[in-house]
């Protein structure tokens, strides 16, 4: 159970697929993605509440990661659009920005950053360089300015300061000068999350943040994710571990076969008939009787024989 009280907005929201949220930061409409004959993603409408932790769950092959890839510009949809409503710099309002047709790097610059299921630590860069890379708008990233150090030295110092405070928060400060490739799996997850924060995003999308992490570190990662919400960020994450989903999420969206089949608060979602069916199959709790089995076998036999006759 979450240590903070559940947010009040959830009481006003329908627990139905595609329900409207009071303050959506992302609104997705009619997104489809096909691979040949397979429809991997077919999302009619979904809204992600600002400042909340939303979990995206579903059985294997439900299209969760493909949906992530589409939203972050790593894949292009066959159809559909999504609108991002970031807060303005002074925080008293928000803009509207279409993110479809944007390259991955532009989505990040707009303030929507993601991590990957298979951690992407940049092995032959130091932990500190990994962190500094995350900062956007660096003037030293222009080839010509790069040659003249005074043009970017001050900015580099500011970035380093931010990196140090994040590394302290994620307990990686002792590793700052080590190659990222020497870190353990769990430390890489921490580094990837810390590095994403260097972007100063409004929305952070975590693809299976707890996969392959030992239980002790899972607890620490959970605390970090909750801190993101406390800092005002919107978190959308894909996860298979239901304990994690129950623990930290404010809202759960369930995908199956590319579509969104259910939404709701964490504890209600576990009872939802459609969700249970999606995970376990529609007849999971009704074992076949002997007669039923024989009947099905006879039917199959008939079909086979009739096909042989045709030939």
């Amino acid at each position: 159970m979450s240590d903070s009280l559940p947010p009040t907005w959830v009481d006003d929201v329908d627990a139905s697929p595609g329900s409207a949220k009071p303050d959506p930061v992302l609104t997705v409409d009619g997104v489809t993605r096909r691979f040949g004959g397979l429809t991997a993603v077919d999302v009619e409408h979904v809204e992600i509440q600002r400042g909340a932790i939303t979990a995206l769950i579903g059985p294997n092959g439900a299209g969760k990661t493909t949906f992530f890839n589409l939203l972050t510009g790593f894949d292009k949809p066959d159809a559909g659009s999504w609108v991002y409503r970031p807060l303005t710099a002074n925080g008293d309002g928000h803009r509207e920005q279409k993110l479809n047709h944007m390259g991955a790097h532009n989505v990040t610059r707009a303030g929507v950053v993601r991590t990957f299921q298979l951690t992407k630590a940049l092995s032959r860069l130091t932990v500190m360089d990994n962190m500094k890379l995350g900062a956007t708008g660096q003037s030293g990233e222009s080839m010509f300015k790069a040659l003249i150090r005074p043009l970017w030295r001050e900015q580099e110092r500011q970035i380093e300061k931010r990196a140090i405070s994040l590394l302290e928060r994620f307990k990686l400060i002792d590793k700052r000068d080590d190659w990222a490739g020497t870190l353990s799996g769990g430390q890489r997850k921490l580094l990837e999350m810390a590095r994403a924060l260097m972007v100063q995003p409004q929305v952070i999308m975590l693809d299976e943040p707890m996969a392959g992490v030992n239980p002790a570190l899972t607890q620490s990662l959970l605390v970090h994710v909750k801190e993101l919400r406390a800092d005002g960020m919107t978190v959308l994450f894909v996860e298979h571990d239901m304990d994690v989903v129950y623990d930290i999420s404010d809202w759960v969206i369930v995908m199956a076969e590319g579509a969104i089949i259910a939404e709701g608060v964490p504890h209600a979602i576990g009872q939802d008939r459609r969700v249970i069916d999606a995970y376990l199959g529609a007849h999971h709790d009704a074992p076949l009787t002997d007669e039923e089995e024989e009947r099905q076998f006879a039917e199959a036999q008939e079909v086979l024989e009739s096909e042989e006759q045709v030939q």
Partner: protein, 330 residues
């Protein structure tokens, strides 16, 4: 055996024209392969287009030499754009295929009969670098130290060549210790991670391809200026692979890698050649064992074997870091 002669030849090879040319070519490849992870197998093409840009501009069109140099550099930029636009969004191996083919297409185009009036066909062009030698500050005589003695023309070529090596190495040092270099190295490690952090990967890969290609064109300038001639077959595919050998020998993604690699590679080739020749001479230990042409081939076998030994016992090259190399295996 005449050890002084043998060592003298090796020392001359270590600082000679070939060493400086391949050092420059390898600095360009280091940008592509060592730092960015781009598989450019057509560095010979960049060298050729630089050399021909200069020679055609001066000889065929009649422009002054300094404009010819600009033409050569501009041609290298255009070639990089042509190669990069279709391939840099694709997987790394597509660039490899396209560059190796493009370098051969360029060589065959330059030597084609149809273009004889422009590029001189298979015999090439000569005498386009007079302006370079007229500003030679060395008066006639011999220059050098110990066993390395060269005339004033070679001294001038080597001064400019190694000067450029120092200048470009310094530039690479500054670039690679900047935020720009950080983005470039992150692309080598994982493109998608770089994109997820807001970096326009395609744009950076293009910059890297252009920069390394322009450095390749500079290597082509030194090749053609030093002999006052361009010939298409100077820029055949093995040139690219020698440059790779030099880069890996010295250590990839190291500032001093190409310099050490080029000096050692050419000294080693000269050393094996002279030792073999001395050994099979009538007064040597193995008189008449090998003919002159066989020596040329056997020395490459020996150099190949020594490179294999290097890769077995020091896979990171001279300046590389073995622990860093091992990170890939985790």
């Amino acid at each position: 055996m005449n050890w002084e002669g043998i060592l003298g030849a090796a020392a001359r090879a270590a600082v000679g024209r070939d060493a400086v040319v391949f050092c420059l070519a390898a600095i360009g490849l280091n940008m592509h392969f060592g730092y960015t992870g781009l598989l450019n197998f057509g560095q010979a093409g960049f060298m050729a287009i630089g050399a021909y840009g200069l020679a055609v501009a001066v000889n065929t069109i009649g422009l002054p030499m300094w404009i010819g140099l600009i033409v050569g550099l501009a041609a290298a930029v255009v070639l990089a754009l042509l190669l990069g636009v279709p391939t840099l969004r694709l997987r790394a191996d597509y660039l490899a295929i396209v560059t190796i083919a493009a370098a051969e297409i360029l060589r065959l185009t330059f030597r084609s009969v149809a273009l004889r009036d422009v590029t001189g066909g298979s015999s090439g062009l000569t005498q386009f670098a007079r302006d370079f030698y007229t500003i030679n500050p060395y008066s006639s005589g011999t220059y050098g130290l110990w066993l390395v003695r060269v005339d004033e023309r070679v001294a001038w070529v080597l001064t400019v060549g190694w000067g450029l090596v120092i200048l470009l190495s310094l530039m690479m040092y500054l670039l690679m210790h900047s935020p720009w270099g950080r983005v470039i190295k992150s692309i080598r490690e994982d493109e998608d991670a770089a994109r997820s952090l807001g970096k326009n990967v395609y744009f950076y890969k293009m910059q890297s391809l252009i920069l390394g290609g322009v450095i390749g064109a500079i290597a082509g300038f030194i090749t053609s200026i030093s002999s006052q001639s361009v010939q298409p077959d100077t820029y055949s595919t093995p040139v690219t692979f020698f440059a790779y050998v030099i880069l890996i020998l010295g250590g990839t993604a190291r500032i001093f890698g190409p310099i050490a690699g080029a000096m050692i590679f050419w000294a080693l080739l000269s050393l094996t050649n002279s030792v073999l020749r001395a050994a099979v001479a009538p007064d040597g230990p193995l008189p008449g064992l090998l003919s002159g042409t066989q020596i040329g081939q056997v020395r490459f076998v020996l150099v190949g074997v020594s490179l294999m030994l290097l890769m077995i016992f020091r896979p990171q090259g001279i300046f590389g870091d073995r622990k860093e190399l091992a990170l890939d295996e985790r």
